[in-house]
């Protein structure tokens, strides 16, 4: 029977299954960070257990790390204490850690692929919902809770039920100024933030095949914002080319063996899915969210919906609540809306190609008066590369702040945050109430749209700059 890529990866990782019970699934790679792991390590200590596969466990510090400098005196005592506890945990349990002073540290979902840990056909988990990012390589990658982090640390296994599969076909050619971020925002706007619950997405179609790996990661990253725990893309030459020579990718003969295996992963012709969705990207425009969840998105020039025209009572109330929080007038487009802060970074759009895109708009221009631009590379490697290309200078000369790597204002745990009432255009992935700081208001968009809005001081269509 023809199989999907999901079936192939799933089936090859089933260790056991008792009747009427979930599968015991083997996990190839476990990524760990400081926020969702402390209680898991405490659990191991209480039971006197060790980490079963420290060599398949990779730790990095990202969520509560300072980005102005690397001293823990730059964050509050609780964040500093959490980071210290994490360092101790990694040391006590023999887990390799990209520590604060590492040149390769960064956001967990940027570091994994960059170092070549993330490979096709793997099962990958992390106590973080954006683990879906790694599916760009044809891995089955999903977020787990802290109890499950403890399970994987102790046994390298997880209890899982088989999810359903959904094929998402993106066909056509993107117009200049429109990116993978706009593709995923358009998908979530169409199916809603619960539209993928219970499913693993497989992204396919000509528009996906022509994306580079970083753009594919942006796409898979936000699968969770549609409720899907994972998104996968069949690995191809573009993926193999990206991986070749990375520090933790297979080398020499091992590479050839791995490659033969990876080439067998793409879904077989005729494989069945539980659901299929198709989106034509050729007419897609730059997207922005206007509300308080990632499904509330519209093309930049289109009016935000009017609750008065929504017939479903629950939806109308949700929309009214969101517009009240955002203090926006229905029936008007977001273009021209004044903004206070621009955030370029996160595991969605903090890679080198994202920073290059932002820089392509910022070069030779100035950020509008009164607007704060914060550019935070996704990893220290990304930062070094960007500095080698002069991107830091472009950002600084435009009047923006250039930072060390971390999650920063995506989650506002490290002091980088919006003030109550401020509006931000952010390249991150969540616009929930207070996500970027209590009372802050977020418009999610691509790096191009963010940079264009920084220059204008208002929400701006980036196509006039590309």
């Amino acid at each position: 029977m023809p199989k999907t890529i999901f079936d192939k990866v799933w089936q090859s990782h089933v260790v056991a299954q008792a009747p009427d019970s979930p599968v015991v699934l083997y996990i190839d790679l476990h990524l760990v960070h400081e926020v969702t792991s402390p209680q898991a390590f405490s659990g191991l200590r209480q039971r006197d257990l060790t980490v079963r596969r420290p060599e398949r466990t990779v730790a990095t510090i990202d969520h509560s790390t300072p980005t102005k400098g690397l001293s823990l005196s730059l964050v509050d005592d609780m964040a500093a204490q959490q980071i210290r506890q994490f360092q101790t945990n990694c040391q006590d349990f023999g887990v390799p850690l990209y520590d604060l002073d590492s040149d390769e540290r960064g956001i967990v979902h940027v570091v994994g692929p960059e170092q070549g840990f993330t490979q096709p056909g793997m099962t990958i988990v992390c106590g973080d919902s954006h683990t879906s990012t790694h599916g760009a390589f044809g891995a089955l990658a999903f977020g787990i809770g802290t109890s499950e982090v403890e399970h994987v640390l102790a046994t390298q296994c997880l209890l899982q039920y088989r999810p359903k599969t959904c094929l998402v076909n993106f066909e056509g050619e993107l117009q200049p100024g429109v990116t993978a971020k706009d593709m995923i925002l358009a998908l979530i706007a169409e199916i809603g933030i619960g539209g993928g619950t219970g499913y693993v997405f497989e992204y396919a179609g000509s528009a996906v095949r022509s994306l580079d790996m970083e753009a594919r990661m942006t796409l898979c990253n936000m699968s969770i914002e549609a409720g899907a725990r994972a998104g996968m893309i069949a690995p191809d030459e573009i993926a193999f080319e990206y991986l070749k020579g990375r520090p933790h990718a297979p080398q020499g003969e091992d590479w050839d063996v791995a490659l033969a295996n990876w080439e067998s992963l793409p879904s077989d012709p005729g494989a069945g899915y539980d659901k299929e969705i198709s989106i034509d990207v050729s007419t897609l425009e730059p997207m922005l969210t206007y509300g308080t969840n990632p499904g509330m998105g519209v093309p930049v020039g289109i009016a935000i919906p009017d609750p008065a025209r929504v017939s479903d009572l629950g939806q109308r109330e949700a929309l009214e609540g969101a517009l009240r929080y955002m203090d926006l007038t229905p029936g008007k487009s977001l273009a021209g809306q004044k903004v206070d802060v621009i955030f370029v970074g996160s595991c969605t759009n903090g890679r080198i190609s994202d920073l290059r895109q932002a820089a392509s708009v910022l070069i030779g221009r100035k950020v509008a008066d009164g607007v704060r631009l914060l550019v935070v590379p996704g990893s220290e490697k990304v930062r070094a590369q960007a500095e080698a290309e002069g991107i830091d200078q472009i950002v600084r000369q435009a009047g923006g702040e250039w930072r060390f790597a971390g999650c920063s204002m995506c989650i506002a745990m490290n002091g980088d945050q919006l003030q109550p009432g401020q509006y931000a255009v952010s390249t991150s992935n969540r616009n929930f109430e207070g996500r970027q700081g209590k009372g802050g208001r977020t418009f999610l968009a691509s790096p191009l749209t963010a940079a264009a809005s920084a220059i204008a001081g208002r929400v701006t269509d980036p196509r006039k700059y590309v």
Binding site: V15, A16, D20, S21, P22, V24, Y26, V35, T36, P38, Q39, S42, G43, R47, R53, H63, S64, M78, A79, Q81, Q82, Q85, G127, D128, S129, G143, I144, G145, T146, S147, E148, H151, A154, T155, Q156, C157, L158, L159, Y161, P163, I193, G194, T197, G198, G227, R229, N293, G314, Q315, E317, A318, G321, I411, M413, R430, F432, E433, G434, R435, K438
Partner: protein
């Protein structure tokens, strides 16, 4: 984990859809290294104003809901981040069950591991429960896990779905890590067959 058998309580109505985990527990409360004390941050930005004063209109601050342990919420409860701090905070405050039309996957998994029961009902039932909280806020419902049923004040019963494994785990307080470890032989065989060496 504490076993879950039956639970009788008033319903705490929170009639919003898509309540995300950033609302359940804002990220600034995630700097803890244990599970205790998170109840203080539960729904913090809805419960307190900018000065930290309790908002009297928010349900959790209303005297009649103190001690209640069933939350009634709109569709897609618990979407967003994977933070298990969300169920820890709910349980810490005293919530033992959430009734909604659907739950986000990771939240549901996390809840079940903490003795917090996600009860899925259809739209009509959810609406009638919200109506009930308006008409008779003192009314209590009973969740009986063994029979997978919800008993309403008028005596009627509504069944809810829960998979056999989660059902057993909750009823008996099964330790899931212990359960996975009981497959040690199979795990070792799997690793051996794939050349995943014992020493690493």
């Amino acid at each position: 984990m504490k076993p879950f058998t039956t639970l009788t309580s008033k319903l705490i109505p929170l009639p919003h859809r898509n309540i995300d985990t950033d609302q359940i527990i804002p990220a600034r409360y995630l700097k803890v290294t244990d599970k205790a004390g998170l109840a203080e941050g539960l729904f913090h930005d809805w419960r307190y104003d900018a000065q930290g004063t309790a908002n009297p209109n928010f349900v959790l601050n209303q005297p009649q809901f103190q001690g209640a342990s069933i939350l009634l919420a709109g569709d897609n409860f618990g979407c967003g981040s994977s933070r298990e701090h969300a169920p820890w905070a709910l349980v810490g405050w005293g919530i033992r069950a959430v009734i909604s039309t659907s739950f986000a996957d990771i939240f549901r998994n996390n809840a079940l591991k903490n003795g917090l029961l996600p009860v899925i009902v259809d739209e009509g039932t959810l609406q009638s429960l919200f109506d009930l909280t308006e008409e008779s806020p003192q009314a209590e419902v009973t969740i009986e896990l063994k029979t997978r049923s919800l008993r309403l004040p008028d005596g009627s019963m509504v069944e809810f779905p829960i998979d056999a494994f989660a059902h057993k785990c909750l009823l008996e307080g099964v330790d899931q890590l212990g359960y996975i470890r009981s497959f040690e032989d199979q795990i070792a065989a799997y690793e051996f067959a794939r050349g995943i060496s014992i020493i690493g």
